[in-house]
């Protein structure tokens, strides 16, 4: 049983074909790197998985369920099962690091006691416990991204989507984030990492799906960045 299954998915905006007949699947606990130039449709592909975008053609399955048929409240539940790490962080600006992470638990209806237990633990995991009460404007880019990862992690998702998570970071912070993603994957969470950073792809030695002109041109078990 696959965790994610894209079946002949195409997406076009105003007649421009962005993704063309995409088919692939992802097993639970797998780590996949999605590579391709900027604008090739990596972000669109990830957004379709949390139903922020709908495919023009084809179907997307999560845990064997066609997410195209989900009602609004089912979409909300889907988004709690899939953690999303954005390049531009998307933190709530008037909430502290702690509150941003806690918010993800609050929306899922966790009791206060669970929030008080889990949030400090996850903040410790991403090494942020010392700035728990900082607001986003008081944090560095690396700290923001680690807060985002903590938020994605807090709901114990089955899958984390990371869309260019290191795009705004310096090399040291980049590697910290990559190491964090590897650690999360080792704990059993599947990860789709979209990036165009050649060094990361080649060092990871994970499955690589390469996109070009809206199509999958390569899907290799221990892939390299070749475009």
């Amino acid at each position: 049983m696959s965790l994610v299954y894209f079946k002949n998915v195409s997406k076009s905006y105003n007649g421009n074909l962005i993704l063309d007949d995409i088919t692939f699947s992802l097993e639970p606990g797998e780590f996949v790197v999605l590579v391709g130039k900027s604008g090739v449709g990596k972000t669109t592909l990830l957004k379709m998985l949390i139903r922020d975008e709908l495919p023009t053609k084809g179907k997307i399955y999560f845990n064997n369920q066609d997410i195209g048929k989900f009602k609004p409240h089912e979409v909300a539940i889907l988004r709690r099962k899939i953690g999303f790490v954005f390049q531009d962080f998307k933190l709530l600006s008037n909430k502290t690091a702690y509150e941003n992470v806690a918010f993800a638990m609050e929306v899922a209806g966790y009791p206060e006691s669970a929030i008080k237990r889990d949030v400090p633990e996850v903040l410790k995991l991403v090494n942020l416990e010392h700035i728990a009460d900082h607001f986003p404007y008081q944090m560095s880019a690396g700290e923001k991204q680690r807060t985002v990862i903590a938020r994605a992690l807090i709901q114990r998702p089955e899958l984390i989507l990371a869309d260019e998570p290191t795009g705004n970071l310096d090399p040291i912070n980049t590697w910290e984030i990559v190491k964090l993603l590897i650690k999360i994957n080792e704990l059993g969470t599947a990860i789709i990492l979209a990036t165009h950073d050649k060094e990361i792809v080649n060092t990871l030695g994970k499955r690589v799906i390469s996109l070009e002109n809206g199509k999958i041109i390569r899907d290799e078990k221990e892939g390299k960045y070749i475009i």
Partner: protein
């Protein structure tokens, strides 16, 4: 359920505090609207009582010929009182009329001289009639003209009064229509202004709303705090408006009443304070809830 409600309240309170300037802008706009709204309520009262004051000042006087004895006049008074259209009648005897005239003449040497020249009391007894409804003066005058005591009368103060009556009726009708239109317009305007301020405040937070959606918050979890914020802002604005009006009433109420006698505006305000506060709050809540629901729904399309 209760935990969710607590969270919504907590989030709303945080939103109010942390978006301080935005909250202040919204509260200010709602307060201004409410001041306008309450002013209109008071204006409506003032214009109504102004008309009533003028109407109550209208009366009809009939003067008797000099040789009519007092008992006849009093009999006519009793007879007139049987008329359903008449509210009250005051009798002024020849002597009282003279006394009143002398009182006025004190300040006017020319009048005093004239009175001395005449030597005897030139004034006549009179009945002063007040109608229940100012529109009915015409009918009363007709009744008097057709009565059998018509030839005992010297004069009916009729032409002058009739003109005033007609004008009064037109004016009061006009004031009512104009004030209703103005009130309607201003209340609508203030509603739109507050509505748009709240909408713009939420518009500036649309990115936050999008993030909440992406993290998996359901619509009520997002909408709730914004609506609660709208309610709290309206309540604060309503309280501020009430305090402003209470101060105005204390400071200005009495002075205003000195210029416009018969206008008990502060007494009206204090005896109707619950009505004022309630209507203000209702108006504020309507704006707050409508605006936040409308604006939020726009950004909640999943």
């Amino acid at each position: 359920m209760i935990e969710n409600l607590q969270r919504i309240l907590k989030t709303a309170w945080q939103g109010l505090k942390r978006n301080g300037w935005l909250s202040i802008a919204c509260i200010t706009m709602i307060t201004l609207s409410l001041i306008l709204f309450s002013s209109m309520l008071l204006f409506n009262y003032i214009s109504n009582s102004f008309i009533n004051v003028l109407k109550s000042k209208m009366d009809l006087s009939i003067y008797f010929q000099n040789n009519i004895p007092e008992e006849d006049v009093l009999k006519i008074k009793d007879e007139l009182l049987k008329n359903d259209l008449i509210d009250s009648i005051t009798y002024t005897s020849k002597e009282e009329a003279l006394k009143n005239f002398e009182e006025q003449a004190k300040y006017n040497p020319a009048l005093e001289q004239a009175l001395n020249l005449v030597g005897e009391n030139p004034l006549t007894a009179s009945l002063n009639i007040k109608a229940k409804n100012p529109k009915d003066y015409d009918k009363i005058i007709n009744a008097i003209n057709n009565s059998d005591f018509k030839d005992k009368l010297l004069q009916i103060d009729l032409t002058q009064n009739q003109r005033i009556i007609n004008r009064m009726n037109t004016i009061s009708w006009l004031i009512k229509i104009v004030s209703l239109v103005v009130i309607g317009l201003l209340v609508f305007l203030s509603f739109i202004i507050s509505f748009n301020t709240i909408r713009m405040a939420i518009y500036s937070l649309r990115e936050e709303i999008e993030i909440m959606k992406l993290v998996g918050a359901n619509n009520w979890f997002i909408r709730g705090p914004f609506i609660i914020e709208g309610i709290i802002q309206s309540l604060i604005a309503s309280l501020i408006t009430f305090i402003i009006f209470a101060i105005l009433m204390i400071v200005l109420g009495v002075r205003l009443e000195m210029y416009l006698p018969g206008l008990s505006i502060s007494q009206y305000f204090w005896s109707h304070w619950f009505f004022f506060f309630g209507l203000q709050t209702l108006f504020g809540l309507l704006v707050g809830i409508a605006a936040s629901t409308f604006a939020i729904n726009k950004y909640l399309k999943v």
